[in-house]
């Protein structure tokens, strides 16, 4: 049996797949957080709740209305986007221009509210969600067994990240977003509907989180606190990548997932600490994060 630093290759490779899988979530979530922060200057604590709502939307649509996983993959993010748009228009908007602390408190409060409601109706126990039949198998790669669903999840998440990055860097909509991040008032004077752009950005960030929630549903249990547990690590990812950096969010998301997995193999007790250790080191060496730019 092939061993790498005293660990069987099979075990290492499986952990790496799990690491990339988690990393893909980190990337999707921190990407949304980063885009929202860049444009709205809001530290969106509702993000974890959006992820949870995405998973619950899929669970409810499938259990009560018979929608397929594939349909949920499209509909659930749209539901989260709509929820996010309503929140932005009705509440968040009133706080622009105030100290960032207000936005943080509001979004934190909304997250507690959403999670509390879900707990009230569904309890804290997790609800199972079936892996779609098409993806339920595994492939023997010779050195490991690759679960199809995980491979699919990694691929589709990365594709979505890549697509987002391409839109931001190479389309005229992306140019408007980047310009609004630099100076939104002047952009408005030029005739760009910035308030609408802000709503759409918040909704889009929410949709990414909702999408991650649907992807998560078959692997983790659908539970009211699933997002709250994840979001803390995601904040570490955002800080490591550099606030507002798109590339930073994606790269550090994947990196962190992978490192976490390696830590699980080589020294299991450290796995949960890894994100925060890395965050501390990065903050010490590069206070603006790996990809952050100076202001």
């Amino acid at each position: 049996m092939t061993m790498i630093f005293g660990v069987p290759l099979v075990a290492l490779a499986s952990q790496l797949v799990i690491g990339l899988f988690n990393g893909a979530f980190y990337a999707l979530l921190s990407l949304g957080l980063g885009v929202i922060f860049g444009l709205l200057r809001v530290v969106n604590f509702t993000h974890g709740a959006f992820y949870t709502v995405g998973a619950f939307a899929a669970f409810l649509l499938t259990s009560y209305a018979g929608f397929s996983f594939w349909a949920c993959l499209v509909i659930a993010p749209l539901i989260v986007a709509a929820l996010a748009a309503v929140l932005e228009r009705s509440l968040l908007r009133k706080l622009y221009g105030l100290d960032a602390l207000y936005g943080l408190l509001l979004t934190f409060g909304i997250a507690l509210l959403i999670e509390g409601l879900l707990q009230f109706y569904f309890g804290v126990a997790g609800q199972p969600y079936q892996v779609p039949a098409l993806l339920s198998g595994t492939s023997n790669l010779g050195f490991m067994f690759l679960p199809h669903y995980r491979a699919f999840a990694i691929a589709v998440s990365l594709l979505l990240c890549l697509l987002t990055w391409l839109i931001i860097e190479y389309t005229s909509l992306g140019a408007k977003l980047r310009a609004a991040t630099e100076n939104s008032r002047l952009l408005e004077v030029f005739g760009v509907n910035v308030p609408l752009l802000l709503t759409c950005t918040y909704a889009f960030g929410g949709a990414l989180a909702g999408f991650a929630g649907v992807i998560a549903a078959p692997v983790f249990q659908v539970s009211p606190l699933m997002g709250a547990n994840l979001i803390i690590v995601v904040f570490a990812v955002v800080i490591i990548g550099g606030l507002g950096s798109i590339t930073g969010a994606i790269v550090s998301g994947l990196m962190l997932g992978t490192l976490e997995a390696l830590a699980k193999v080589y020294w299991p007790p450290s796995a949960n600490l890894v994100p925060f250790l890395i965050m501390a080191v990065v903050l010490f060496l590069r206070p603006r994060g790996l990809f952050g730019k100076g202001e």
Binding site: V189, G191, V192, P195
Partner: protein
């Protein structure tokens, strides 16, 4: 025939937070003419322009463009009444390329200038179209700031000190471009500290002091007023 200016500002009062800085500015900009606002540092020239384009935190009075009231209009709709704004700080988006800056503004009319014409007027921009806006020299930034709004197709060009801090060669270049635009019938509202630059362009002058217009006269009366002007703006 009724006097029907393109832009009509009546008793414009403006605030930055608590501080009241415009105390009733009135002026009018007739079609196809160039109007220059002169005045010392800090008298409220920039603030007047910011009030017109909706950038003051609070403004009262009346600003009418083509008869449409701009005070209270959502900021992102103001450009569509036909205003192109070239701010004092130039407002180039540093992380966007020159080309992206040029393509950034929504078209507000079918008068929008083609890229060929833009690069004809400002050949430097063509060479630097792939460069990031933040790497341009002051002169290039000013040219880009003007070029960018011309692409959108405004009826009124609002320029805040387009020659500030630029070398004589570039000032001349910008002067030639603005003169050509004027000949094409573009209306301009210009704030300028460079009096000699302004007198070659403007048809009418307004003098400001302490947030008010204190005098105005036509270009042909300028020589007779030179003493007052000198004492007010110190040229």
């Amino acid at each position: 025939m009724r006097y029907d200016p393109l832009l009509w500002v009546e008793n414009l009062q403006g605030w930055y937070g608590e501080s009241h800085i415009l105390h009733g500015v009135s002026l009018s900009v007739p079609r196809a003419q160039t109007i220059a606002i002169l005045g010392r540092n800090g008298v409220g020239k920039t603030s007047t322009l910011r009030g017109i384009v909706g950038l003051l935190s609070r403004a009262t009075g009346s600003v009418r463009m083509n008869g449409t009231e701009l005070i209270g209009m959502p900021r992102h709709r103001i450009a569509y009444t036909g205003i192109g704004y070239v701010p004092e700080e130039r407002g180039i988006y540093g992380s966007l390329s020159v080309q992206e800056n040029l393509d950034l503004l929504p078209r507000i009319s079918d008068r929008g200038m083609s890229l060929e014409r833009i690069f004809d007027l400002f050949p430097n921009l063509k060479e630097r179209r792939r460069a990031a806006g933040g790497t341009l020299s002051g002169g290039e930034q000013q040219m880009l700031s003007i070029a960018r709004v011309l692409r959108a197709g405004p009826e009124l060009l609002v320029l805040d000190e387009p020659t500030e801090g630029l070398s004589p060669v570039i000032v001349q270049h910008i002067g030639r471009v603005l003169n050509a635009l004027k000949k094409d019938g573009l209306t301009m509202l210009l704030v300028e500290q460079n009096f000699h630059f302004a007198r070659h362009l403007a048809d009418h002058f307004y003098l400001m002091e302490e947030g008010r217009v204190v005098d105005d006269f036509a270009a042909r009366d300028l020589d007779a007023r030179l003493d007052t002007v000198s004492s007010l703006i110190g040229v």
